[in-house]
Symmetry: C2
Subunit: 194 residues, 2 copies
């Protein structure tokens, strides 16, 4: 997807090494500084000229995608694995909490899931859809099991997720996202007089 070199022309050895290094540094830079970090700054930290980095990743978006796609894929896989768990409520809440927990350690991931910084997964990407679908399945099962308020939609849950992550972006106290997830999970539980 982000890779436009077919198997035909294998990268030159040094180029391959450099690409790896850029990816590595970009991952660290994005995790700590979020999506607003500039392309030039990433190149500088990696010790390359901007031109070099652009050679490997045609746009900033492509670089970000290369770095973050894997992480999001893992969330989707996690959700799929839980799709047949016995305790649907436990599966749903556990997944939700885990996503918040892991995403909150990565600024750029927060930014992207939270979508506040103007940069998003390309709508064309199936991944955004996969994520929503996986979440939806988990949610519906949990609702059928009576563990989650029935008036919540998948979109609502995504918004709630975003909300938890938004707290972390402010970077105030590390871990505030996780505490928020606890409150939010409680709120999503079924029953209790309003």
């Amino acid at each position: 997807m982000g890779d436009d070199h077919s198997a035909a022309r294998p990268l030159r050895a040094d180029a391959r090494r450099n690409r790896e290094r850029v990816l590595q540094i970009a991952q660290e830079a994005l995790a700590s500084d979020g999506l607003t970090i500039s392309f030039d700054e990433i190149a500088r930290r990696a010790g390359f000229g901007v031109g070099t980095v652009y050679r490997h990743f045609p746009t900033k978006e492509a670089l970000v995608e290369a770095v973050l796609l894997g992480r999001i894929e893992r969330f989707v896989a996690d959700a799929r694995a839980l799709a047949t768990a016995e305790d649907a409520g436990r599966a749903f809440f556990g997944w939700f909490t885990r996503v918040v927990e892991q995403a909150s350690a990565n600024q750029a991931l927060c930014d992207m899931l939270e979508s506040g910084s103007g940069m998003t997964l390309r709508p064309g990407s199936t991944l955004a859809g996969d994520f929503a679908a996986a979440l939806g399945r988990l949610l519906v099962r949990a609702q059928r099991a009576g563990a989650v308020r029935p008036d919540l939609g998948a979109q609502d849950v995504q918004d709630l997720l975003r909300g938890c992550l938004a707290a972390e972006r402010r970077a105030r106290a590390r871990g505030s996202a996780v505490r928020m997830a606890d409150v939010v999970c409680d709120g999503m539980r079924a029953a209790k007089a309003s």
Copy 2:
């Protein structure tokens, strides 16, 4: 505060009119487009040159402050009025919901309370502190009354508030902030096995 013309030199009539108009247009522009709208764009919409707008408001921040301060003040006043309400829980949840409701109609207010766009109330401003203090008082009373989980701090509640507003920024479905507030309030309520 944002007003540097003392009573000594009253504004010329046309200037006063223009200032009013800028404020009016800026209010509309900020409400619909959020904090990221450019200063030039606001001037353009108001039908003035940028220089003119800068004459009235020395920085973009000053303009934003002039527009939004009043709104936030109202929240603080609302909270103060509720400080002695009989039902502390009802007061707290009502206030929380009302803030989300009203703020969610104004993009710039969401941005500012949510603090995601890099622009904040100047730390020097007493208003940020007033807001936090008023919220804190409401919270503590509600907790004493046993209506709110005791493990929540004022900062947590602010984060939760921010989270609700963050959903609205995405502008997906109008009103998602309010629905989130409902879930979140439920989560903040005391008791219920975890």
